[in-house]
């Protein structure tokens, strides 16, 4: 299975600022996914990122708020822009191999 790392593991940010989360995979993968997990909740898909194409966003998530880059087959970034306290969540990236998704350790974001 793929090994996935995320940076930062946690951060505390002030409202109105932006944070970029990095996701690195140890092997080349076609599809990467970004999820949000609000406190005590399940995972909600933000967007799917394929290398070489624009990310596909789920209903309720927009590119201006969550811009995503996917420059190559092993790396992606998610930016949380103009943050508010409601953005306080865990953000996880995942990759798919053989119909199975493997997750990074997550980034715990707190917005004050």
């Amino acid at each position: 299975s793929a090994v996935i790392s995320q940076k930062p593991s946690r951060d505390i940010c002030q409202r109105g600022t932006s944070l970029t989360i990095q996701c690195q995979v140890d092997s080349q993968v076609t599809m990467m996914f970004w999820y949000r997990q609000q406190p005590g909740q399940s995972l909600t898909l933000i967007a799917t990122a394929n290398q070489g194409s624009e990310a596909t966003y789920e209903s309720g998530f927009v590119i201006d708020k969550f811009p995503i880059s996917r420059p190559n087959l092993t790396f992606s970034t998610l930016t949380v822009s103009n943050m508010s306290p409601e953005d306080s969540s865990i953000y996880l990236c995942s990759v798919e191999q053989y119909y199975e998704q493997y997750f990074g350790p997550g980034t715990r974001l707190t917005v004050t």
Binding site: M31, Q37, S42, L43, T48, E96, Y99, Q101, P105, G106
Partner: protein
């Protein structure tokens, strides 16, 4: 759209005993995958077990097994000989077997918090 329902927000089990977590789903598709994920307090999502809908045989992974009832759209997880390290949130998830058009995404249930008592 597919939905996944976990009706047990919390469950508890005594160490060394067996516990079953429930999951039902709704889909009009005939070919799909079902998964159970474990999320301990460290928040790392760990794939526990996978079931292909076209397979009649229930999947097993060591102490973890599933009871897959396709007609009833039910997919329960049985944990045998429970250990303290099994304490975690458990999420049931669905993935279409189709390719493209966003079908690769996982649809998660709300989770069941499992406590293991010594």
């Amino acid at each position: 759209a597919q939905t996944v329902t976990q009706s047990q927000p919390e469950m508890s089990v005594q160490e060394a005993e067996t516990v079953t977590l429930s999951c039902t789903y709704d889909t009009s598709e005939s070919d799909y995958y079902l998964f159970w994920y474990k999320q301990p307090p460290s928040r790392q999502m760990i794939l526990v077990i996978r079931q292909e809908a076209y397979k009649q045989q229930n999947a097993t992974e060591n102490r973890f097994s599933v009871n897959f009832q396709k007609a009833a759209k039910s997919f329960s997880l049985k944990i045998s000989d429970s250990q303290l390290g099994d304490a975690a949130m458990y999420f049931c998830a669905y993935r279409s077997a189709r390719g493209g058009g966003g079908s690769e995404k996982l649809v998660f249930g709300k989770g069941t918090k499992l406590t293991v008592n010594p």
